[in-house]
């Protein structure tokens, strides 16, 4: 079966890749593009560990076919911030110890950024419902919720 040629944008960079029809965006990110920050926890869209942002929408990378990336703009955890320039959500997760084993963490940070992009001032209830698509087995969510509130406050305090 011929591979498909896909032209897309990942973390702001133009990217081209070849993929088989059944390959998911998650497969291509991890195995073809070497972006292993996005994790597979279930492969069925239930855990959110593979959360990415596609044209501004929060998407499970395991539920998106790689060929669907054509012409889209994709943001992964690697595109949100780096150790020397952390995004405010990452900074808040760091300061508040909102992670333990770290495996679900990229998905939570991507999801939290997507929330704050659309709702800069979410209530605790809104945060809890928005993040309900992401499973964490370590933290009990307490510090994650507080970190998102913390990040929201920091981001509001910054000039637009």
């Amino acid at each position: 079966m011929a591979k498909s040629h896909v032209s897309t944008t990942v973390n702001g960079d133009p990217v081209e890749f070849l993929c088989d029809a059944p390959e998911t965006m998650l497969d291509v990110l991890r195995n073809t593009l070497g972006l292993t920050g996005t994790k597979e926890g279930c492969g069925t869209g239930d855990c959110g560990a593979c959360s990415i942002i596609v044209d501004g929408r929060l998407v499970c990378g395991c539920l998106m076919l790689a060929v669907e990336a054509t012409g889209k703009s994709i943001t992964t955890i690697e595109g949100i911030g780096a150790p020397d320039r952390l995004h405010p959500v990452q900074q808040a997760f760091l300061e508040d110890a909102a992670l333990q084993c770290g495996f679900c963490t990229p998905g939570f940070i991507v999801a939290a950024k997507a929330l704050l992009d659309r709702n800069p001032d979410p209530s605790e209830t809104e945060i809890r419902y928005w993040l309900a698509g992401n499973l964490c087995r370590c933290t009990g969510y307490d510090k994650i919720v507080r970190a998102v509130q913390h990040a929201a406050a920091e981001m509001k305090g910054q000039p637009a």
Binding site: R30, L35, T36, G37, T38, K39, E40, G41, C42, G43, T44, D46, C47, A49, T76, I77, E78, I80, G81, A82, P83, L86, Q90, F93, L94, E95, D96, A97, L99, Q100, C101, G102, F103, C104, T105, P106, I109, E124, T125, I127, R128, Y129, L131, A132, G133, N134, L135, C136, R137, C138, T139, G140, Y141, D142, K143, I144, V145, R146
Partner: protein, 790 residues
């Protein structure tokens, strides 16, 4: 410097920058050149004989490199997976341990049991090969039920009644006498529900054999890589210990399920040696549900004897524990020495007797899951105590208070073999009642009732035995290994430090906590300390991380190693400063001749040790590196009091936790921020067990009905609230840090608090976990039907 970063400081976790930027390195993130992919063929039946297995079709598929079966495994001398803890029955006979081959040999005994592996150039090719395997399965009768397992058809040849052992602990005659003479006897039947761990990172293994050096490197998701190497080498026969390197890089949660030695890592290592190419396997979530060791699954009858004043006189417990189809690595010890020994709880009950029958069923093996035996003991005890209070018409807090071990009674020997070193249970309870505004509950209940809602409040006073374990005692009780821990401190010539620990961090934050301990002892900054774990080629040996042992045992080893470093530094400093070691003070990283300004920094001493031009070479070796092993004298005994408050919607049964209060005594706390997180996570898992998580098998076919995240509910952000925490501090008396361990407390203390609260809200005596809305609603309907009928 160290006051801000040392013991007790809320320091940011050193490991987090890599995790929050997607730079963590987990097993599945590792790939090796020429790597093959393994896909396991798994039994679709709960119990079947494999008549014949034709592998030729799969072997002929393009991209398939090999198809290997249990016969190949046996031919290569790869032995069965052992259970590492011998339990003896009450008649003195040893437990019945059936062989557990890594690939089944002739009979499959649970749905998901691997019977062959297909190895392909790609995962897709291997999967296509596995899909072609169609053995001649001859189905046999299957049983998945715990309570009836002793009267169903034998699962293993030669093991009558499917009974592995019939174990007892305590004084039966004294307990019977207490029950016979008691003013009140409370009876309760308890089911501790079966759970599926579901660490978010699926298990994975990558075997990489180098024929040039005859070295097998196994990357795997293990909580205890050194122990994995020991078992795979000494018992399974995968490779000699010095020719086997086990690497557990970043590991995405374990909760017990990644302690054990499983088929898949064994097979990937073996296949890599056979095929001379790297072989990788990563579980999909379905495999994790089917094959990762499950947790709990007890059926228990208990009787508590009380005198007329509500003092506990005796407790008699009879439990059937489900082991699943085979004995996982530590499975035998969980329902015995980690369960029966905890049945005194925080109370002065003078006579306790427990009998445990562990049985085989056609289900996934069952082993330690967060808490491991201690949640089962705590749930039983705190449910029966709560029930007693209700039947006696007493305030549950007052009944508990009347029976708590008093603060001045430590060390306290229980009738079930433990000696608690320290605690202040009264203070924990008082603080939890105050923090939860227990006194104000009646008003809140009335306000809820006015809104048409039912409020309930529930308590739980837990204790756990952790810091596993004194090796001599563990050996007497049947353990196959010692349970000490090791630490090594290598001071580099420039004065910074690399620390090696035999424990393993998979979320616990050891890279920070252990660095804080070293920072406090050596007076150097956290940024000067690197903590290394998870690679048997780097650290010397260790037993790994489980049972809340890492800081109590591994941290104590680190203290010993630090002290050895300081002792040697003192000698070097004395030589350099022309003084005597006993006249050298060490504070904040500076060695100083007492009462003078003559001083050398830690870094200067390190440099002198590695560039020994001016150095006491006649008396001291150059270099600065020390190793220490620490074997604990006793278990540690974290304890606490939890209060859960719930609100039930009587029309739907939907139950919300409105307030959850936890007061814990962990002794000395190194990093409060990390400890809070551990408690939060434990409480969430306990709430999951109490309200959401139910592993279900079909009773007729033995199929796992809850085999996906859509069918097995785990707590999500919208199910929970923020938790109210506080601490009481009584330091452990027998380890140098005074620490007790905090990893499992939340999961131990919370389930009975939740169920006590829900049963209080809806006015029923018993309610099995998980208390789903349907179950709560059904119980309410039954209650109102009974009320109408009377």
């Amino acid at each position: 410097m160290t006051a801000e970063t040392g013991i007790g400081a809320r320091v940011r976790r050193k490991e987090d920058v890599r995790f929050i930027t997607g730079r963590g390195r987990y097993t599945d993130d590792i790939n090796r050149p020429g790597q093959l992919h393994a896909v396991f063929a798994r039994s679709p039946y709960a119990h079947a004989r494999i008549g014949s297995l034709d592998i030729s079709g799969a072997e002929a598929l393009p991209g398939v490199v090999a198809v290997l079966t249990g016969a190949d495994l046996a031919a290569d001398g790869i032995g069965p997976l052992p259970c590492g803890w011998m339990i003896h029955s009450r008649d003195g006979s040893p437990m019945k341990q059936p062989p557990h081959p890594a690939l089944s040999q002739g009979t499959v005994r649970y749905v998901g049991e691997p019977y062959a592996v297909v190895i392909g150039e790609t995962r897709e090719a291997a999967q296509a090969g596995a899909d072609l395997l169609d053995p001649d399965f001859q189905e046999l009768p299957a049983n998945v039920d715990t309570a009836s397992a002793q009267s169903t058809a034998p699962i293993h040849d030669g093991i009558a009644n499917n009974l592995c052992y019939d174990w007892t602990l305590g004084d039966e005659a004294a307990t019977d006498a207490a029950l016979a003479s008691a003013a009140h006897v409370v009876e309760l039947d308890i089911i501790n529900n079966r759970l599926i761990p579901n660490a978010i990172e699926p298990r994975a293994a990558l075997g990489d054999y180098d024929a040039g050096t005859d070295m097998l490197t196994l990357y795997t998701t293990s909580q205890n890589p050194h122990l994995a190497r020991l078992v795979l080498s000494a018992f399974v026969g995968l490779a000699p210990e010095h020719k086997l390197r086990v690497v557990s890089p970043d590991v995405g949660g374990g909760f017990g399920s990644k302690i054990f030695i499983y088929s898949e890592e064994t097979v990937c290592g073996w296949a890599s040696k056979r095929l001379r190419r790297p072989v990788k396997w990563t579980a999909d979530r379905s495999e994790a549900f089917l094959n990762d060791a499950h947790g709990r699954d007890h059926v228990t009858k208990a009787r508590l004897a009380l005198d007329a004043q509500g003092r506990f006189l005796g407790l008699k417990v009879s439990t059937i524990a489900n082991l699943g189809a085979y004995m996982s690595t530590f499975s035998s010890s969980i329902p015995t020495y980690l369960y029966g020994t905890l049945l005194a709880g925080q109370y002065t009950t003078p006579a306790i007797f427990v009998e445990v029958r562990s049985v085989f069923t056609n289900t996934t093996p069952v082993d330690a899951y967060r808490g491991a035996g201690r949640p089962e003991a705590t749930f039983l005890l705190e449910r029966i105590v709560e029930t007693a209070a209700r039947e006696l018409g007493m305030d549950p807090a007052e009944l508990r208070r009347r029976n708590l071990i008093p603060k001045d009674a430590f060390p306290y020997a229980t009738p079930v073999a433990l000696v608690y070193d320290t605690g202040d249970y009264q203070a924990c309870l008082d603080k939890a009642l105050a923090l939860s505004d227990y006194a104000g509950f009646p008003a809140r209940k009335a306000a809820a009732k006015a809104r048409g809602k039912l409020r309930g409040i529930g308590l739980s006073c837990y204790i756990e035995a952790c810091g596993l374990a004194p090796s001599r005692l563990a050996g007497q009780l049947g353990a196959g290994v010692g349970l000490y821990e090791s630490a090594e401190i290598r001071v580099n010539p420039t004065g910074n430090v690399t620390v090696f620990t035999g424990t393993h961090s998979h979320g616990q934050g050891h890279e920070t906590t252990f660095a804080q301990v070293v920072s406090s002892r050596l007076g150097i900054g956290l940024d000067q300390i690197e903590v290394v774990h998870g690679d048997t080629s780097q650290g010397q040996f260790g037993l790994g991380t489980y049972g809340s042992r890492s800081l109590a045992v591994g941290g104590s080893a680190l203290m010993k190693a630090s002290d050895k470093i300081v002792t040697k530094c003192r000698k070097i400093a004395a030589y350099l400063l022309e003084s005597k070691p006993e006249d050298i003070d060490f504070e904040d990283g500076v060695f100083r001749v007492r009462g003078t300004n003559k001083a050398k920094t830690f870094g200067e001493i390190a440099f002198a040790a590695y560039v020994p031009h001016h150095y006491p070479l006649e008396e001291l070796e150059p270099g600065l590196q020390e190793t220490a092993f620490y074997d604990p004298q006793n278990f540690t005994y974290p304890a606490g009091a939890y209060v859960c408050e719930v609100e039930v919607d009587p029309d739907t049964g939907i139950t919300r936790i409105v307030k959850f209060t936890a007061v814990d005594d962990f002794g000395q706390v190194i990093n409060p921020m990390i400890v809070e997180g551990q408690v939060h996570g434990g409480i969430a898992q306990g709430i999951g067990q109490a309200m959401l998580e139910a592993c279900r098998y079909d009773r007729e076919t033995g199929q796992l009905l809850t085999g996906s995240m859509m069918d097995y509910a785990m707590p999500r952000a919208d199910d929970l609230v923020n938790f109210d925490l506080d601490v009481v501090r009584t330091d452990c008396t027998h380890n140098p840090l005074g620490v007790k361990g905090c990893g499992e407390a939340g999961a131990i203390g919370s389930p009975p608090a939740v169920i006590n609260a829900i049963t209080d809200a809806i006015g029923v005596r018993t309610l099995d976990m998980p208390a789903t809305p349907l179950k709560v609603w059904t119980a309410l309907q039954a209650g109102s039907a009974a009320a109408k009928g009377s």
